[in-house]
Point group: C2
């Protein structure tokens, strides 16, 4: 079976894996990125560790058809570079694909935005398998997106398509990292859900959250869910608002892409049915019935492997 070497670059960790054409991971590992020390040292170290894995698996570069890299955006995919990513300062303009290709016998290498790679991974190997139109949404620190349209990853003009966390929900809400007011992610990301609870506590609302979290400033979505289960009124209110915000954004995603499935990943999905059951209902209430009728909303299937397997999916697509 054909194999690729896949890399998942993050601000903290730089993971890698050997992935079969069926999506199975033969082996994997990771190094610290030490992003502040620049790209060359990180690429050198991750390549050295990956070579050790190849030795263990008795594989050599010639046993692979390609290299895939998933990276936080924005990217210059034609040059294989990150291009102003806030978590990778000083990396702009360094060709990660060229560096990794050189380390592995000149294998063809491509880089893709991590959410776009995740979308292709879920389409090819995960919860979107067998569908043609798959949108991936991750709800964690922010909200990210990726879209597979009629079986092909939507990369856009320069590889930065599907910034879906920046769909507007209001024109005068909290300011988003992108500079706009009221983006979807400032209402409904994990960070935003916790922030709204902390703001309510700061405004004098009482809740078991303060005790659960060991102080209002430590509240996370995890505590909110615990408090919801215990019947805490403020937490229920925050959670219901969050479901409504998530649904409004997902409704827009349905109306925009008319997808077969929306695959939702990210930390907030640990809530399981407590999230998915009302979120589906909310999303459907905001979408055209003929579009929501054909769209399911399901949890991600690749779990912690999504970065490496997504990068692998992009590499397989690259070589055709």
């Amino acid at each position: 079976m054909r194999k690729v070497l896949a890399f998942d670059l993050g601000g903290t960790k730089f993971a890698f894996g050997v992935v079969n054409e069926d999506g199975s991971v033969l082996g994997s590992g990771r190094v610290e990125t030490h992003a502040e020390k620049g790209p060359a040292q990180a690429c050198d170290r991750v390549a050295a560790e990956a070579h050790k894995l190849l030795d263990e698996l008795k594989l050599k570069p010639a046993d692979f058809v390609a290299i895939g890299v998933a990276s936080p955006g924005p990217l210059d995919i034609s040059r294989g570079c990150v291009d102003g990513s806030p978590n990778l300062p000083g990396w702009t303009g360094y060709s990660i694909t060229e560096a990794l290709s050189k380390s592995f016998g000149g294998l063809p290498a491509r880089i893709d935005n991590d959410c776009n790679a995740a979308a292709l991974g879920e389409f090819r190997f995960g919860a979107g398998k067998g569908k043609k139109n798959v949108v991936y949404i991750t709800v964690s620190t922010g909200i990210g997106g990726g879209a597979v349209i009629d079986g092909r990853l939507m990369r856009g003009s320069n590889g930065n398509a599907a910034e879906l966390g920046h769909i507007p929900l209001t024109m005068d809400g909290p300011r988003c990292g992108c500079g706009n007011l009221g983006c979807w992610e400032v209402y409904a990301s994990g960070t935003a859900i916790a922030r709204r609870a902390r703001e309510a506590l700061a405004a004098g609302r009482t809740s078991s959250l303060t005790v659960l979290a060991g102080g209002a400033e430590h509240v996370t979505t995890h505590h909110i869910l615990q408090a919801v289960a215990q019947g805490d009124a403020l937490s229920k209110e925050i959670w219901e608002q969050s479901i409504n915000y998530l649904g409004r954004g997902l409704g827009a995603v349905i109306n925009t892409f008319n997808p077969d499935v929306i695959v939702v990943g990210g930390g907030v999905t640990a809530a399981g049915d407590t999230l998915f059951v009302p979120m589906r209902q909310s999303a459907n209430s905001y979408a055209f019935p003929r579009l929501s009728a054909v769209c399911t909303i399901v949890p991600a299937g690749l779990g912690g492997n999504v970065g490496v397997v997504g990068a692998a999916a992009c590499a397989f697509e690259h070589v055709g």
Copy 2:
């Protein structure tokens, strides 16, 4: 040169044309739809008129490679039917493609949403020619959209993708025809722009609009633009708000699709540079710089032919 027979179905008119593979229209015509009398009579009459055109042009069905139909959505494209379109009551379930195919010697026929067809038409023959990622937006009674992704029309799961007029701008604004509050089109369509002016007049604002339009209830975007040119304060305010709303939505379109070009059509674009210059600036202010840097926003190139030429583009795509 290969030719198709193209139909542009609307609630009032049913247009048709003979279109070459280079997008040139050899001949065209139209009949009244008489939508309320049902689909069979309309298809029969438009087919009869189209046969007359073929006779004039000395063409026969065998000279064509396909039939294309552009229709208001929602559609069931697999069956060639409209499916609950408010302007075509009683048409649901009648296969327009089958009827037209039978009338023209069994030519292969396909139907597409009119805005999606327009997007493919502008991509193939109009203002998006030569680009790979083209979004079409029409700003008229409502706001409609269509997207060509990497050279292929994005149809979605059941042919209803790109309902871009229903991107949210607020969660508590005016109610949209789709049932939601605060959709883009209830702020920024031609209808919405005129409505906001009439509401301001009803609330007691004074303006030269009332005289220009011959009564507040007759105000259209055309009058607003006239009044802007004459320095009317209310009209300038309404127009600036409208540009801001259009820009917020277009910014979301840029962040969603990372397109090479957004082609904007519809009645409001008659305003020309008075619209396009500030609208581009507004859109760019709401989009990620790396995405807006590669995206131009241009007026539609097909004008009044967009329906027939869009349907033709879909037919050519259909036969490959």
